[in-house]
C-alpha cells in the first residue's frame, strides 16, 4: 500500500484545451478517494496519469513518496479495473486473474493459491475455467475486479467499474466494494460520474470540473458545505435550488430578498461583509411545507414525483435559476397538481454564493460555533 500525490499536474493534447490543469491532489495510504465529475471533466485522465498510461505535460506524480512521473506502467505496481473490464478474451478466468502474477514472476504455486483466494473472496471460484465470453456482465465485472485484487499492488485504480451493471447489481456491488476496501485497507482511487456512488464509497471525494478539482473533502462535508455553485448542484439529488437575491445587512442580521421569496430570509447574528447581489441555494430536503402565512416561498405544483420514502414536488417559481423549485415532502403529504403550496427554508442549511459562484458562508459544523465567513475562497 502506498500514498499517491499529484503535484501541479497538467495534461494537454493540444495546448489550448488542457484536459487536466495544474492539479494537486494527495491521497493517503489506505484511503479510498473518489474522483467525481461530469463526463469529460478529466477524471479518467487523472487515473491514467497515476497508472502511467499517460505522461503529464507538466508536473509530477508520486506513489509511495517516489517520483513515478517517468516510470512506465509496468513498473509502477498499481492495478486497475477498466470501465470496459478489458478481460483477455483468449484466456480463462483463472489465466486472467493469474496474468499479473505471472508477468511479475510469482512462482506458479503461489500464483495459483493467490488466484483461488481472490476467487473465493469474490465468489467466482466456479467460473475459473470459463472464458470471458461465457460470462454475464456482472460476472465479468467481478473477474475484472479479481484481476486487480489477485496481486498486492501499491494502489488500486478503478475507472467507473460499476457503470455497465444494471441498477440493482450496481448498488449491491457498491456495498461489497465498500466492505472490500475496509477489509483490505488498500489505497484506492475510484472514478465515477455518479455522485451517489461517490458519496457512499469515498473516504474522501474530489469533485472535478474542466480538468480542475473544485473541492476535496469528506463526502458529508462536500454535501453540506459545497465550495461553490457547481459542487452544490453536482452533489446531492434531487438537485439544489438556486435563486438570485440581494442582501441587506443591519445590526448583525442579514436579510435576503428575491422575487422567488414572498418574505425575506432573515439570518440573525451575522457579522460578515457580503456583496450586494448574491445567489442563494437550498437543498430540496431542507424545506418543509407550512401554512401560507409562515411560508418563505409559495408556488404552484407542476409535477409530483413519488420517490417512495418521500415525494418530490416541482413548483413553478419565476425567479429560480431553472424556472422551478424542487422540494421533498413526506410521502403522505396530500398535494394536487396546480395547487398553491407554501414552504419554509431551513436557514441553517442555506448556501450562499457570490457572483463568481464561490461559497460565502461556512455553516457551523454540528457542535461548532456560529456561522462565520469562509476562511478562504478563490
Amino acid at each position: 500500500m502506498a500514498s499517491i500525490q499529484l503535484e501541479h499536474v497538467t495534461k494537454s493534447y493540444d495546448a489550448a484545451q488542457p484536459v487536466v490543469r495544474d492539479m494537486n491532489l494527495a491521497i493517503a495510504d489506505g484511503e479510498l478517494l473518489v474522483l467525481v465529475g461530469p463526463s469529460g471533466c478529466g477524471k479518467s485522465t487523472v487515473l491514467r496519469l497515476v497508472a502511467g498510461l499517460e505522461t503529464p505535460t507538466a508536473g509530477r506524480v508520486f506513489i509511495g513518496g517516489e517520483d513515478m512521473t517517468a516510470v512506465p506502467p509496468q513498473h509502477r505496481d498499481v492495478a486497475m479495473v477498466f470501465q470496459s473490464y478489458a478481460l483477455y478474451p483468449h484466456m480463462t478466468v483463472r489465466q486472467n486473474l493469474g496474468f499479473g502474477l505471472r508477468m511479475r514472476g510469482v512462482p506458479a504455486g503461489d500464483a495459483s493459491s493467490a488466484v483461488e483466494k481472490t476467487a473465493d473472496m469474490l465468489g467466482i471460484r466456479a467460473l475459473l475455467d470459463r472464458r470471458p465470453a461465457q460470462l454475464s456482465g456482472g460476472q465479468r465485472q467481478r473477474v475484472a475486479l479479481g484481476r486487480a485484487l489477485a496481486r498486492h499492488a501499491r494502489a488500486y485504480l478503478l475507472d467507473e467499474p460499476l457503470s455497465n451493471l444494471d441498477p440493482l447489481l450496481r448498488v449491491d456491488t457498491r456495498s461489497e466494494l465498500a466492505l472490500l476496501h475496509r477489509q483490505l485497507a488498500a489505497t484506492m482511487v475510484y472514478v465515477t460520474h455518479d455522485q451517489e456512488e461517490a458519496m457512499t464509497l469515498g473516504s474522501r471525494i474530489a469533485v472535478m470540473r474542466d480538468g480542475m478539482v473544485e473541492q476535496v473533502g469528506l463526502p458529508l462535508d462536500v454535501y453540506r458545505q459545497p465550495a461553490n455553485r457547481f459542487v452544490a448542484s453536482f452533489i446531492g439529488t434531487p438537485r439544489v435550488n438556486l435563486f438570485a437575491c440581494s442582501c441587506e445587512q443591519s445590526s448583525g442580521a442579514l436579510s435576503l430578498a428575491s422575487s422567488v421569496l414572498i418574505r425575506p430570509l432573515v439570518l440573525p447574528g451575522f457579522d460578515g461583509q457580503l456583496p450586494q447581489q448574491i445567489e442563494a441555494g437550498f437543498r430540496p430536503q431542507d424545506a418543509e411545507l407550512c401554512a401560507a402565512e409562515d411560508a418563505h416561498v409559495i408556488g404552484a405544483v407542476v409535477l409530483i414525483e413519488p420517490l417512495g420514502p418521500a415525494t418530490l414536488l416541482h413548483l413553478r417559481a419565476d425567479g429560480a435559476s431553472e424556472g422551478s423549485l424542487r422540494v421533498v415532502v413526506p410521502a403522505d403529504a396530500v398535494v394536487r397538481h396546480g395547487e398553491q403550496v407554501g414552504f419554509r427554508i431551513r436557514l441553517d442549511r442555506l448556501h450562499l454564493f457570490d457572483a463568481a459562484g464561490h461559497r460565502l458562508v461556512e455553516h457551523p459544523r454540528p457542535g461548532a460555533g456560529p456561522a462565520k465567513m469562509a476562511p478562504e475562497h478563490r
Binding site: 509502477r76 486497475m80 477498466f82 470496459s84 483477455y88 484481476r147
Partner: protein, 271 residues
Amino acid sequence: MKGSGLAMRVGVWSLVFALMLPLAWAVLASFTPEQRLFGGGPLLPSLTGEHYRAIFIERSFWIPIRNSLIVALATTVTSLLLAVPCAYALARLPFSGHRLVLAFVLAVSMFPQIAMVPSLYIILRAAHLLDTYPGLVGPYLTFALPLAVWLLSGFFRQLPADLEDAAMLDGASRMRALLEVVLPLSGPGVATTGILVFLYSWNEFLFALSFTLGPERYTVPVAITLFRGQYQVPWGQVLAAAVVATSVVAGVVLVAQRRIIAGLTSGAVKG
C-alpha cells in the same frame, strides 16, 4: 420470408455457378486431348490424363511447384515476422512522423516493379544471390512488407487499446503485451495477411523471370510461361499446370482459413 430465402438461394447458386464455370472448364479441358481442344464440339466424350503425365514426367513440373512453395512460404513467414512489430508500432506508439512512415511504406509499394528489376539484378549479382531462393525472397519483400504492414496495422488498431493497457498494468512490457495479448487475438488478421502475401508471392512473375537462370529455380508462373515452344503452345499442358498450381494454393488457403475465426475478441470489452 420464404420467398426472399428462395431468391437468396437462387442468387447465391448463380453466383457460385458464374464463378466456378471457368474453373470447371479449365479442369475439364486439362483432361481433354490436345486435338479436341480446338476441334469444336463438346469437350466431354474422350478424357485423357496425358497432359498431367506430360507435365510431371516430361517437364518435371514438381520442381517449380517446390520452388514456388519454398519462396512463397519463406516470403510469408519473413514478412510477417518483420511486419508484426513494425505494424504494431505504427498502430499504437505515439511517435512523431508515423504518418510519414506509413506514407513512405505505401509509396514503396506503388513503385513500378519493372523499374526495380535492373538495380535489383545488379545487387543480387554482386551478392551472388541470382538464381537462389533468398535472391527471390528478398525482392518479394519489396511488395510483401508494405502490404503486410498496412493490413496488420489496420487489424491492430481495431483491437481495444484497454487490453494492452491492462496487460501493461499487470506488469507486461510493450513487447510482452504484443506477444501475450495482441498476437493471440490477431489470429484472423495475421492469417488474412499471410494468405494475401502468399498469393502475391505465388503468382509473382516478373522478379522470378528476371532473377532465376534455369529450370532448377523457376517458379510456377515462369515454368508455365516457358512451356510454349517455337511453333505452338501446349494449351492442354498449360491448363493442367494451372489446375495443379490452383489446387496447391487452394489447399494452403483452406488450411490458413481455419485461423480466421470471427468473433474471437467477443467478451473482451463490453459494448
